[in-house]
Symmetry: C2
Subunit: 337 residues, 2 copies
């Protein structure tokens, strides 16, 4: 299958590029500083390895977009490394902000080195991401490298806006559906849109093509998140026996929950009284479904998926990479749990 072939070629190249960038953080007396970053990226320490690294979805999406827009994907490697470093910078800081002790089965950076070092290590990874994307100037024109850097900055501003909303929602009981889209737009869709857009840009595609790629990434992000929220309550792990996996337990303001709160019915009344227990999960999921949240979320995910596919069609992805990109989109959008 073409997608797997691309992934097998691209993954080691992405890791190499990131390793190269991280050498900039090295220096006398800075061994542990570098080690923290390498630990978070899944290269060092207990549990290091592919399982600890995540799927590297964002750089793969960027490289496939660049190849499907007609370029040699190797030219876009600095940008691919940059988006993965941005993703990981935000994970390091999110883990502190969300008080998360584990990530991919390993202690988070702040759990191992404390909050001060973790904030600072996140800042370093943020900086390294930009130092990486500027290296695009070695493989594409200065104009394109400059524009890619600006897009990544605008994306990060969007990320922090989404994160602000997410944190501020914790203390609020008056949320409705309208609160959802700006939050997930910033937290999830903005970076995926930057991946597909920068990929096309690095291929020096026409502005209208770049815009189609951007929209593809944007709707892909929104559709993916809607479906993730659906599976978080009614997916196999959440619904069948393993109630401990349900998003209903963590108090997450997901799309079905916000829909349910807007109904101001039984679900909303119980939700406002405090955290749901494991014993209540199945009943609350059923109640939420009765109130229409499941159908609503399925319908929204469906509309967003169609928009993503339409934008990808308009981008006219070329060749084997285009096929692989379609396959990746299908994988992301057709999960069953």
């Amino acid at each position: 299958m073409a997608l797997n072939h691309f992934i097998q070629e691209m993954l080691p190249a992405i890791e190499n590029e990131m390793e190269f960038v991280l050498t900039m953080a090295k220096g006398s007396g800075l061994e542990e500083f570098h080690y923290m970053l390498a630990y978070h990226l899944g290269w060092e320490g207990e549990g290091a390895g592919p399982e600890a690294r995540g799927k590297r979805l964002r750089p793969l999406l960027l490289l496939l977009s660049s190849a499907a827009a007609g370029a040699d994907w190797r030219r876009a490697l600095p940008a691919a490394a940059a988006v993965e470093l941005i993703h990981n910078f935000s994970l390091i800081h999110d883990d502190i902000e969300d008080n998360s002790a584990l990530r991919r089965g390993r202690p988070t950076l702040w759990m191992r080195w404390g909050i001060p070092q973790a904030i600072n290590a996140g800042d370093a990874m943020f900086t390294l991401a930009y130092l990486t994307i500027l290296r695009l100037a070695e493989s594409v024109s200065l104009q394109v490298a400059f524009q890619a850097g600006r897009i990544l900055q605008e994306t990060c501003l969007h990320l922090t806006q989404g994160q602000y909303l997410d944190i501020s929602y914790e203390a609020r009981g008056d949320l409705t559906l309208e609160a959802y889209w700006p939050m997930v737009g910033g937290k999830t869709a903005a970076l995926l849109a930057a991946c597909t857009r920068i990929g096309a840009l690095a291929a020096e595609a026409e502005p209208t093509t770049c815009e189609s790629y951007r929209l593809f990434g944007w709707y892909l992000g929104l559709a993916f998140q809607s479906q993730d929220d659906l599976l978080g309550i009614w997916g196999e792990a959440a619904a069948t026996g393993k109630s401990a996996e349900s998003d209903l337990l963590s108090g997450k303001k997901s799309l079905p929950v916000l829909y349910g709160l807007g109904q101001k019915g039984l679900f909303a009344r119980r939700w406002m009284q405090g955290l749901i227990s494991v014993e209540e999960v199945a009943g609350m999921a059923r109640q939420l479904e009765l109130e229409g949240a499941r159908d609503y979320t399925i319908a929204r995910a469906d509309v967003l998926t169609k928009k993503a596919i339409k934008a990808l069609d308009q981008a006219q992805p070329q060749g084997e990479a285009g096929e692989a990109l379609r396959a990746l989109a299908s994988l992301l959008l057709e999960r069953q749990g």
Copy 2:
């Protein structure tokens, strides 16, 4: 006096530029997100005003360097706003990392909005700094704007390296003088060097001239910090009656303290036993002086000041702005307490 005249012209222009950039953080539902940033910059909330803003030393240094290198300083305003935003991003995160409740007499951002929002607001200010410096491309060449962006990134990496060392030193008792320079190089001198260098670069000065400006800022930062450390123990506020102002109380690993630790004498033995009390401050300051730390620090500050002045001479600053830059350097280096 020429310096005051420049400051009076430049300060409102710097504030305007930063206010313009911060409008990028605005949006529906994001009023408080913008407010947090404006609060930290001293524009909003209780105690807002010039006192809450700090001296805006870094943008002034950048603009004066640019003017002294022959340009209209207004062309460099986006870079001036950027270095001030970088400085303030690092203050927001430092205040969390150092557990500081107050800054310039007002509650710190994390004290008012909690650690999660403060980490995120710092990230937003970091991003805005880069979005600002890229705006240089509207007033100077794309090459220069690109290079300025890269210098700022390299500077931030240096900042995080210095901060890593500072945090890691807290838990260590085996420090010597060698530990000092990489820490203050990263934490203080790197950003001042970026200011003078980017100022000259925005004036499209020759590379050798830019390098002289860079060295001027670098040694200015090291000299300033050495003198700050001196005043922190033997300055008027710290030494005469107001022992509560002394750096000896906070456990700060300043230059005199590291010198004293290296002597392994009475001072070092007491220091290793735990925090110094207010009653002990005067005696410990005397002991540290007896062991040679005061003379050593004065001598180092003197050598570094001479190096800063020599680099400034080599940069050949021009006209009234050149005079003003010399006056600013003198003000910073000849403080008495």
